[in-house]
């Protein structure tokens, strides 16, 4: 890439953004770091330096490890579900059939729906007495008795994952679809002539083109899923018996409900660290994939 701007001019152009990032991202982040070594309260007194005490308590706490596990399960399962569903839908919509364009247009709908409205919608659907899911499953004979989807720790997290996947699979599908269109026609034709079966064609001809974009989608979605707050807040608030209390919900509770800003900050930083490690690992994988290892 040949530059048309001198370094000085480039920096000048970036100055406004840098100033803003320093003041509304950089400073708060550093301050969170500072707070994590104190016993500061959200409002009022406190703020003595306590060293690593917050972190020590955190790692010794069952609540933390449980939330960590729940967050990981939520992120891994919902992202996998979105990936599989997204690719399948993309393969479907890549075919030529009547109504395809309408279907492609509809695909944008769940994605455009605000997260909070999505949560509200599924909360209504899962309602144990008057919800549509129970009524549907019972009336179609798939189930004998109404179930308490969000009230049972065995199903609450799964119910949240389904709601999250429904909203987010279109993103993966749209990205995959764009990638499919980038596969040269000639290559696909050649594979058919060679007599490769459908699965082999997908594995060796299509997948290499999909891998890169899918990886990017996966990184974005995993990071998002690891930070999850909205959908859980509206649907279960972490219940029942804290079986859906993810890390972000735990931070809210610690820092804002209980007003322990210091220990909330240490927890927030652990989440940041986890997300960063995840992203670094992913980027390494993408690099390798781009190096033609697929």
């Amino acid at each position: 890439m040949n530059g048309t701007l001198t370094p000085l001019r480039a920096w000048l152009l970036m100055l406004p953004l840098l100033v803003i990032m320093l003041s509304v991202i950089g400073w708060p982040f550093v301050d969170t770091l500072r707070l994590s070594f104190t016993d500061a309260r959200l409002v009022g007194t406190g703020g003595e330096y306590v060293g690593l005490e917050n972190y020590r308590r955190l790692f010794a706490s069952d609540a933390f490890w449980r939330a960590f596990r729940i967050t990981t399960v939520f992120a891994v399962v919902s992202v996998l579900l979105e990936m599989v569903l997204g690719v399948l839908v993309a393969l479907l919509l890549f075919q030529d059939f009547r109504g395809r364009n309408i279907l492609r247009a509809l695909l944008i709908l769940p994605w455009a729906l605000p997260t909070v409205v999505n949560a509200l919608l599924w909360r209504l659907i899962y309602n144990p007495e008057y919800g549509a899911l129970n009524a549907l499953l019972l009336q179609s004979g798939l189930m004998e008795e109404y179930r308490s989807w969000l009230g049972d720790p065995g199903s609450a997290l799964a119910a949240l994952i389904v709601a999250d996947a429904w909203k987010n699979f279109p993103l993966v599908a749209l990205i995959s679809l764009a990638a499919l269109h980038a596969v040269p026609q000639a290559i696909r034709a050649a594979a058919i002539v060679d007599g490769a079966n459908a699965f082999a064609r997908f594995r060796y001809v299509i997948l290499p083109y999909l891998a890169g974009p899918l990886m990017v989608a996966m990184v974005l979605r995993t990071i998002e899923a690891f930070k999850v707050f909205d959908i859980i807040w509206v649907m279960t608030r972490g219940g029942p018996a804290n079986s859906t209390r993810t890390l972000s919900i735990l931070v809210y509770q610690e820092a804002f409900s209980f007003q322990r800003a210091g220990s909330g900050a240490s927890l927030a930083l652990i989440i940041t660290l986890a997300v960063t490690l995840l992203a670094v690992a992913y980027v390494a994988m993408i690099r390798r994939a781009a190096g033609g290892k697929f």
């Binding site: 991202i25 605000p114 429904w166 990071i223």
Partner: protein, 281 residues
């Protein structure tokens, strides 16, 4: 396209139908709930279609009499519109020059990673100091304060999107302009911006939708109708303290309408934006 067997065609159309139902059914149900009477909504077995369409909740929720559900939702909508607009404009103002700089100079290229890196920061890692900072500046529970906070989400995103949008614009014209003695701002304003208009539009649309969707900061930093956004208003309604499910559903429909309409009308723009970064790498 290759020749298809009949069996495959049937499979194809069946899958397509299933997908359409999967996407549309929840939307349809939300809407049906919003026009069903309360009795229909709590009948067993459940009534899938209202005995009589009841539009009264839409009237209730658009009623502007002070201190009613309607006034609360409408002021929340207004706050969302304004906060998202201020935040979007501010984000574009700082990220257009940044995106151009990132696209045209190698010296600042490394900072792109930094910009994208901020996306990884969970809001909870910034929330406590931001809360204290806003409190100190007396900006809690103000639209402006919330819009400034939204910049943390929007600006890195738009900068990155704009950079990839500026990349394909040929550099020759800029060089020619520089030779002719055009100033930096003239080059940007007269030459680049018109060429980049589509990608700037895409960035604006995305930023707006992102801001509209935001919940966590709004929950923490606003307390009443002076700044409370529609996402928080919806969450308050859904909190299990409103007896009428239909009213909750209606509020959901109203809050979803703007972004969903945007999505349908501008889907080409949206899809190109969604796929730009990922497919081109």
């Amino acid at each position: 396209m290759e020749q298809r067997s009949l069996g495959f065609s049937v499979f194809l159309y069946a899958s397509a139908l299933l997908l359409a139902v999967l996407i549309l059914a929840p939307f349809a149900w939300l809407f049906i709930m919003s026009i069903s009477s309360t009795t229909d909504l709590i009948s067993k077995p459940l009534r899938w279609w209202p005995a009589q369409a009841d539009w009264s909740r839409y009237r209730v929720l658009t009623d502007l009499t002070p201190n009613t559900h309607g006034a609360a939702l409408m002021s929340a909508l207004k706050n969302s519109v304004l906060v998202a607009a201020i935040a979007t404009l501010a984000a574009l103002a700082v990220s257009v020059p940044t995106g151009w700089a990132l696209s045209r100079s190698r010296a600042v290229n490394w900072s792109l990673g930094l910009v994208i890196g901020t996306y990884m920061l969970p809001p909870v890692a910034l929330a406590v100091p931001l809360y204290m900072g806003l409190a100190a500046l007396d900006l809690l529970n103000t639209r402006f304060g919330l819009a400034v906070v939204y910049l943390t989400i929007l600006a890195p995103f738009t900068a990155w999107l704009l950079k990839s949008g500026f990349d394909p614009i040929p550099r020759d014209i800029e060089l020619a302009a520089a030779i002719d003695g055009a100033r930096l701002d003239q080059t940007l304003r007269i030459l680049i911006l018109p060429l980049a208009a589509p990608v700037i539009g895409t960035a604006a649309l995305f930023a707006y939708l992102l801001a509209w969707d935001e919940f966590f900061y709004a929950l923490l930093f606003t307390s009443d109708q002076r700044a409370k956004t529609v996402t928080v208003a919806i969450a308050d309604l859904a909190g299990g303290r409103v007896a009428d499910y239909g009213l909750i559903a209606t509020a959901g429909v109203i809050a979803a309408l703007p972004p969903v309409l945007f999505g349908l009308l501008m889907q080409r723009t949206l899809i190109s934006g969604l796929t730009t970064g990922s497919v081109k790498g």
